[in-house]
């Protein structure tokens, strides 16, 4: 009986592993086709809108000056609202100096003990300050708030693309998320003072983040355009002020306290009947992280944020604004960290059974393997790694054709290995939830790790 139960347990674990894997495989197949078919659309005219960039900045003295300069130079009519979140360096002074001679640059100062309470709260303060600054008769449908990281670089055509007929040109669209690209994806030596292997590893990490955002995430977002569940990111998100007003009216404030406050905003927008859109016709550049430890920290935060946002599932499920296919898509996304926890438990079971059999019956198993058992490994490698490896060639074909297909394939395999980090970060995130830890230190910029002479 005990043996039967053990066999049943092993069978159940293998069945769950198979169903989770095939679900992911099917999902990838569903999102790849429309992604490859998507073509560039005609941009619009940004002149008909008022554009306001919110730039949260906490201890960003290394990058904030150049970011303000870039935004003002690239988008002369746009206003830049820099939120100095009680910086302990010269960030506040740098912004104040620029604002003193440029009426399109605004300082939003936060001071302790009311500061450093999260990015969402910082954005809410900027929202209130913009609200107070705007004339009472402002057309809030045509006032667009963009959120850009302190190292963010929206492409020069970003606002025109966002104003296209199918984006803000469509009155039904409330928010637009722009495709994110890693600005340092071609940097050969992310660690100037370290050795060859450290640099090779670092630049591969950055390249994989670029692949992830411009291929895999972009395809997910394209699919979400159909399911009406486009998610907003922390960099390159644009929203109509009127939509933020609606979220404030319904939920008290536009941004809330989840560690994934940007995705949380998109959920609130969905729940208030708004439509979010996504475009990869333009880009916003941000720094990729070449350091594995910082990457794990960042991904743990994202994992915990996603787990926190899982509390919205009942609301999404009962909302009349969210179509069923959208609720299913959002549920699948929000369950991902939990499925990864389950995966860490069930995926090793078949491997364990195999190892046990090899140890217990070495002659039989060796014969089985040599006599054709290896084919099973081949099948599992193709179907197990395929959904990850495919993104390498897709990325090269769609985003970086100069890399060539051989590198694309190599990147695909590297991406499959890269994805294993999620099994680490999901457990770390789960551990933080169990310990009720919601605090977070921001991800430090690459420039902070360089000597002053090398920083840009």
């Amino acid at each position: 009986m005990t043996s039967d139960r053990l066999l049943l347990g092993v069978g159940a674990a293998q069945a769950i592993a198979l169903v989770i894997s095939v679900t992911f495989l099917t999902y990838v197949l569903v999102i790849v086709v429309p992604f490859l078919r998507c073509r560039r659309r005609t941009p619009g005219d940004s002149a008909g809108y008022g554009w306001h960039f919110f730039v949260p900045a906490r201890d960003e003295e290394k990058v904030i000056g150049t970011t303000i300069g870039y935004l003002r130079g690239s988008f002369p009519t746009a206003h830049v609202w820099v939120i100095d979140d009680a910086s302990t360096d010269t960030t506040g002074q740098i912004v104040a100096d620029v604002a003193a001679c440029d009426d399109h640059v605004h300082v939003v100062s936060r001071r302790l003990p009311d500061a450093r309470t999260g990015k969402g709260e910082a954005l809410n303060v900027a929202y209130r300050q913009l609200d107070a600054w705007l004339p009472a008769d402002a057309d809030r449908d045509r006032v667009i708030v963009g959120v850009v990281d302190a190292d963010g670089r929206p492409a020069a055509d970003c606002l025109d693309v966002c104003a296209a007929d199918h984006l803000f040109g469509d009155p039904d669209v409330s928010s637009v998320q722009v495709c994110v690209r890693m600005v340092n994806r071609d940097e050969r030596r992310p660690f100037p003072h370290r050795g060859r292997y450290a640099n090779a590893f670092g630049r591969t990490l950055v390249r994989l983040q670029d692949l992830e955002f411009r291929a895999a995430i972009s395809a997910i977002q394209m699919n979400r355009r159909r399911t009406r569940t486009v998610g907003l990111g922390g960099n390159g998100q644009f929203s109509r002020l009127s939509a933020l007003d609606d979220v404030r009216a319904a939920f008290g404030r536009p941004w809330h306290g989840a560690l994934l406050e940007d995705y949380e905003l998109s959920l609130h927008l969905l729940l208030t009947g708004h439509r979010n859109e996504y475009t990869d016709d333009t880009l916003v550049d941000q720094e990729g992280l070449p350091d594995f430890r910082r990457l794990l920290t960042q991904r743990t935060r994202w994992g915990q944020g996603t787990m926190q946002c899982g509390s919205y599932l009942p609301k999404l499920w009962s909302s009349r604004h969210v179509p069923t296919i959208g609720a299913l898509e959002a549920a699948y996304y929000l369950l991902q960290p939990w499925l990864q926890l389950v995966g860490t438990l069930v995926y090793p079971v078949p491997v364990g059974v195999l190892i046990y059999n090899f140890a217990a019956y070495p002659n039989i198993m060796t014969g089985w393997f040599a006599g054709g058992g290896w084919l099973l490994f081949l099948v599992y490698i193709v179907f197990g790694l395929g959904p990850f490896v495919a993104w390498g060639p897709i990325y090269v074909r769609r985003c970086e054709p100069q890399l060539g297909m051989v590198r694309g394939l190599a990147l695909g395999f590297a991406y499959a290995a890269f994805m294993l980090t999620f099994y680490i970060t999901s457990w770390r995130a789960f551990g933080r939830i169990l310990r009720r830890r919601r605090d977070w230190a921001k991800t430090r910029r690459n420039a902070e790790f360089l000597p002053d002479s090398a920083a840009t």
């Binding site: 069978g11 198979l18 009962s318 069923t324 299913l328 006599g371 179907f383």
Partner: protein, 195 residues
Amino acid sequence: MSARTAGPPGPSSALSSVLPHGSSRLTRGAGTILFLFVLAVLLAYQYQLRHLEAVGAARLFGLGTPTLAASRAPIVYFGLGRPDAFGLTITPECSSTLLIAPVFLIGGAMLLGRRMTPQRVLAAVGAAAFLLIVGNQLRIGLIAYLISELGFHTGYEWGHLVLGTVVSIVFIGASLTLLVAVLSTGRTHRQRAAA
């Protein structure tokens, strides 16, 4: 699934349909309990269900070739009356029973909210489960066919390890797609109420 060579066997050889407003908390609760009950049955009686699968395979493929299911064990024999007759044992890993279980779990979860009627969820889960059963029957038939064509070892390796696995993956994928398609088609009860 495991295969065994055999002579003539002895007797025991081994919708987003719409929920009417406020009418159905009880129905949904009953539906969830039903799904969980089926889930428990799938786990508790998987041996008997595997035997049923063997009987089903024997009936299905018996239309084209002499087959027989073992009287109690989950084994189906092919090529009876020939010297190269063989039997396939349907193990827990190779049965559709455990693959169907997650589908019923999803079905139970779908009924927790008021978005879908039990009828819609039942239709979706039923269609997805049916496709999984059909896929597994085809897989059994494919393995048997390849064994008869390529010989016991080669046919079993290719049928069970390669093509059979591919058939499983394709049918699981198709089943999940069908599940989502049936669940998400149509209007929610709120939309119908608004209309």
